[in-house]
């Protein structure tokens, strides 16, 4: 009898064991979902819009604001308002309503469809819609639509220096200013948001999810192969082809990751080599590394056209006097940069680069004939000083104030040159930014979590098989890329790693660059950590994603 009971008990254990294990697994998942859903809903929606299962990291990291994950220069990566809210100002007498502020929430995915309305080719963008309240009813087609990006000049950056942009402020009532504009997705950095401007799609749909993304087994950068990883149409792709490539389409910017706001160039079937003028270093180790000569790197050169004359223009050193005076003192310096001795590269950290670029714009607009005929042309411009200063000195620094002042002071010059070459009342400009910047931790009181320290915490806890492979492939401010095979060989799961990271304290992942205060050292480092694949199933997003999300997902379903 006793044996029979023992046998029954053993049988019950065998049957129950999988159930118990499943319950524990579900319990773990439940806890991770609860942590994720403790975050404000809009942060999760932005994250969902920015995520692609095939290309994004495997674990989502979210700190409580103002904390952030970063190492080296200050990042601008996360779903928070301070990096995601941006100016969006439309100006164009005769085409754009002079009404000042509009309060409706909009995103940068709305820019391309609005261009479509302006030039008469409606664009059914995956995530955007025309900003019709900005448009004068019954207006004809402008000769030129210009999109100007003040890189890194998010609303928080402008709000930190409210007196530094009088020119833009003075123009608000002459156009339409979207007071609640945001980039729309997270993480917001240059490549993905410029692609959102161009495609009317968030990263989820255009495919450029971050400055490090996964292609198969490799981690790479979004423009490694030119525009080949941008697998959604841009408005310029469609419009230029629709008009038989008669429109003049061009981008005057700095680095290839900004080209997503324009086009695939001749990679697009029936497309031509649109004009692109950049200054990116060939083979640079980091994205955004600038050179001083206008060029196209070999990954993009086959698909775009670099006009020959652009390097015949005055060099940046010709604008040193202007930069010198800009900070209020003619002392041969602009903040840290000694202009007399500055290399061209150092000069790029001064306002000298702004008129240097505006001179380029004037030359290209004139010589290429932008706005000369009745076929609307498309011009895209990225000015990058504000972003550079934000990384180098922070948005709270005096150089940032002066950088905004210098950028703002150039606005009348840009308007004047367009009036002169295209004609007053013949053009439209949309001015925006691709992201904001992270406040200096000394100002915000943020605890800064070190990505390498997060990686090492995972490694030391889970990677115990003593081989050379690492579980953690790469840690970004918002993601951890995981080698799933290596993780499996160590008997770990994403849920377990995420659950562990929720117990890690700020003191344990303090990288030392911005030391965590002793008072905060024992606090949890993260508000939420969860497998990225969980985003689709978060209960707090159910019923919300369709309202805020995509009309037409382009991610494939073929295996």
């Amino acid at each position: 009898m006793r044996l029979r009971w023992l046998a029954l008990a053993l049988a019950a254990l065998v049957v129950a064991a999988p159930t118990v294990a499943l319950t524990q697994e579900q319990g773990l998942e439940q806890r991770l979902m609860e942590a994720a859903c403790s975050a404000p809903g809009e942060l999760l929606i932005r994250t969902w819009r920015g995520h692609r299962a095939d290309r994004s990291g495997d674990l989502e990291l979210l700190t409580a604001e103002p904390d952030f994950v970063g190492h080296g220069g200050l990042p601008h990566s996360g779903p928070w308002d301070y990096v995601g809210m941006v100016p969006l100002f439309w100006y164009g007498p005769g085409f754009i309503r002079a009404q000042g502020e509009v309060g409706r929430p909009v995103t940068l995915a709305d820019v391309a469809p609005t261009q479509g309305e302006l030039v008469g080719l409606p664009f059914d963008a995956p995530d955007g819609a025309p900003l019709v309240e900005a448009l004068e009813p019954g207006a004809g087609r402008p000769k030129l639509v210009v999109v100007v990006v003040w890189d890194g000049a998010g609303r928080d950056v402008l709000a930190a220096w409210p007196k530094a942009w009088p020119e833009l402020r003075s123009m608000i009532d002459q156009g339409t200013w979207f007071e609640r504009a945001e980039v729309g997705s997270s993480p917001p950095s240059t490549a993905q948001i410029h692609a959102t401007i161009g495609t009317g799609a968030f990263s989820r749909n255009h495919g450029l999810v971050a400055h490090t993304l996964r292609i198969g087994d490799r981690l790479t950068d979004p423009w490694e192969s030119g525009s080949r990883y941008l697998t959604a149409a841009t408005f310029a792709d469609l419009y230029d082809r629709h008009e038989g490539n008669r429109p003049i389409v061009g981008t005057l910017a700095t680095v290839a990751i900004q080209l997503g706001m324009m086009s695939h160039g001749s990679l697009w079937g029936g497309g031509d080599r649109d004009i692109a003028v950049l200054r990116e270093r060939e083979g640079a180790a980091t994205l955004g590394a600038e050179g001083i000569t206008w060029n196209l790197t070999s990954n993009v050169a086959p698909y775009y056209r670099l006009p020959a004359y652009v390097n015949d223009l005055p060099p940046i050193t010709d604008y040193f006097d202007e930069a010198d005076r800009q900070d209020g003192r003619s002392d041969g310096r602009w903040h840290e940069v000694q202009l007399d001795d500055a290399s061209a590269e150092e000069a790029l950290l001064t306002p000298a680069r702004i008129p240097f670029q505006t001179r380029l714009i004037e030359e290209v607009v004139d010589r290429e004939g932008f706005g000369e005929d009745d076929v609307p042309d498309l011009l895209y411009v990225n000015y990058k000083l504000i972003d550079e200063i934000g990384h180098k000195f922070s948005m709270n620094s005096a150089p940032m104030r002066d950088a905004i002042e210098a950028q703002d002071a150039e606005l009348p010059a840009l308007v004047d040159l367009l009036n002169e070459h295209v004609g007053e009342g013949n053009w439209v400009m949309a001015l925006t930014a691709d992201h904001g910047h992270t406040p200096d931790p000394a100002v915000s009181g943020a605890s800064v979590i070190s990505p390498p320290a997060v990686a090492e915490a995972i490694q030391s806890r889970f990677d115990t098989d003593d081989d050379d492979a690492r579980i953690v492939e790469f840690t970004q401010p918002t993601h951890v890329f995981v080698d799933l095979d290596e993780m499996g060989q160590n008997g770990a799961t994403l849920d377990e790693i995420a659950s562990y990271l929720l117990t890690v304290t700020k003191g344990e992942v303090d990288g030392g660059q911005y030391p965590v205060s002793p008072d905060a050292a024992d606090e949890p480092a993260f508000l939420a950590v969860y497998p990225s694949s969980m985003l689709e199933d978060l209960p707090c997003l159910q019923g919300k994603i369709p309202d805020h999300g995509s009309k037409g997902l382009v991610a494939p379903d073929q295996g």
Binding site: R52, I215, G216, D217, E224, I248, H264, G369, P556, D557
Partner: protein, 158 residues
């Protein structure tokens, strides 16, 4: 090969699929040149659109090379795998050059490609877009987006 990550499964797609008529190999190389040198010309009008791209090339730093050749109403996809691991089964989608709408092209009998091997597959193309209206052709492996093929470039004589 790392486990495929699953992709969101919704897509706009066009229904009509035409069975392929597939012929032999014989692929034309058609990657473009372009050396980054400044263009001495500054034309005020652009060259006419490419309207007859029939062969597309895909190369990847991981050691993957694929070629897609349009033939009649079908196509042939050839994948060469020197990646060091097995490639999951291939797939394709195209973006219509006129409106950007995505359409899946079905790779018949799609199968994984072992390392060091080359495999050819017949492809069923949809009625829309026609070849002259292809905007991008995108390679999928295991359902993951590996990026666009390169069409012949203006000046290639395509």
């Amino acid at each position: 090969m790392r486990l495929p990550r699953h992709l969101p499964g919704r897509a706009r797609s066009r229904a009509a699929i035409v069975p392929a008529v597939v012929v032999a190999l014989g692929l034309a190389a058609c990657t473009s040149g372009g050396d980054g040198a400044p263009d001495e010309r500054s034309p005020t009008t652009s060259p006419p659109p490419v309207t007859s791209a029939e062969s597309y090339v895909f190369t990847d730093a991981a050691g993957i090379e694929a070629r897609l050749t349009l033939r009649g109403e079908g196509a042939e996809l050839t994948v060469r795998n020197d990646s060091g691991g097995v490639l999951p089964k291939p797939g394709l989608f195209v973006l219509d050059a006129r409106d950007g709408v995505r359409t899946t092209w079905r790779v018949l009998d799609a199968a994984p490609v072992p390392d060091g091997e080359r495999a050819s597959f017949e492809v069923e193309r949809s009625l829309v877009p026609e070849a002259r209206h292809i905007g991008l052709v995108v390679l999928l492996l295991g359902g993951e987006d590996f990026g666009a093929f390169v069409p012949p470039q203006p000046g290639d004589g395509a």
